[in-house]
Symmetry: C2
């Protein structure tokens, strides 16, 4: 089945294309923006977006919503990660954690998919913590997120990100659901 | 004319009731939540909310959206001020400004009103800066906002807040529009 990934984010599309290919799922891209709702849940945002787009997209497709959730900041920046990043950047997150005891955080990815008949929400999560300073390059919060079991940020070790990211997890579940 | 203030916020309602009374405008309250859109503009949020509620509220009414905009943080927390406050509080804002040169900020209030025939957007603004530490009590960001010309935060001097706040400005314009 050919699936369409509806996303305005080129970076996300390339990552998904590369991962899903391993599972023999070929995807195309449609660049339609979804009027995002306000919610604390990536799953709810993705599903609402899927339902809004069902009218516009007449073939099997999926959308994805993700965020970084920091425990000591009550889940901030969470579902508004992308907006917060544009405003205060990684420097702002490091300032906010300067005097916090815990630096625990997780990335969450929620995919909402429609296969032409049914809809499904699939999530992926990666636990970890926020580094003490910016390390490496990469996209968004990658240079400050260290996944559990590693001593490098996603920005320092792209391979680790590619192999264990929240998005890989949700995409793997998507491939399994599509191939069921 | 009796006006209804549609708001889920008791604090805002009491403040508006007290101020509008000076202008001989009596208000009632309706506690209906508006599904907020994502926007960088308080005016757009208020107007969209007004239009969504027009179906539910069958009498002259208004809604209000406000935010604190900090220059050195690209307008953060802006239209998401209330959400950001719940997550990181005033302590978080002070951390984010720790090493910034400028502490300039402003509060903006946007009212969207419907008088039974026409709709109108009215705004009020108060310039100022963010204090170096928490001072005084009060609601939300009041203890860290010092209006231009004063050396006290809104939290230290409730009277100053009552006399020169962004919300007083937008409410005064509302009273003028209603009484035109």
């Amino acid at each position: 089945m050919k699936l369409t990934f509806v996303t305005g984010n080129t970076h996300k599309f390339r990552e998904a294309e590369r991962i899903l290919k391993e599972y023999n799922v070929i995807i195309g891209r449609k660049d339609v923006n979804c009027e995002e709702i306000r919610s604390e849940s990536c799953e709810e945002i993705a599903l609402t977006c899927l339902r809004l787009l069902r009218r516009k997209v007449n073939k099997p497709f999926f959308v994805e919503d993700s965020g970084l959730f920091i425990n000591a900041l009550n889940g901030f920046p969470g579902t508004l990660s992308s907006w917060v990043f544009k405003k205060i950047g990684n420097g702002g997150i490091l300032e906010l954690l300067r005097e916090k005891q815990s630096r625990d955080a997780y990335f969450l990815s929620a995919i909402a998919a429609w296969d032409g008949g049914r809809e499904k929400v699939l999530t992926g999560k990666v636990d970890g913590h926020i580094s003490l300073e910016l390390r490496g390059k990469g996209f968004g919060y990658d240079p400050i997120f260290i996944p559990a079991g590693s001593d490098k940020t996603f920005g320092e070790d792209e391979k680790v990100k590619f192999l264990c990211s929240h998005r890989r997890n949700s995409l793997r579940k998507l491939a399994e659901w599509i191939g069921r």
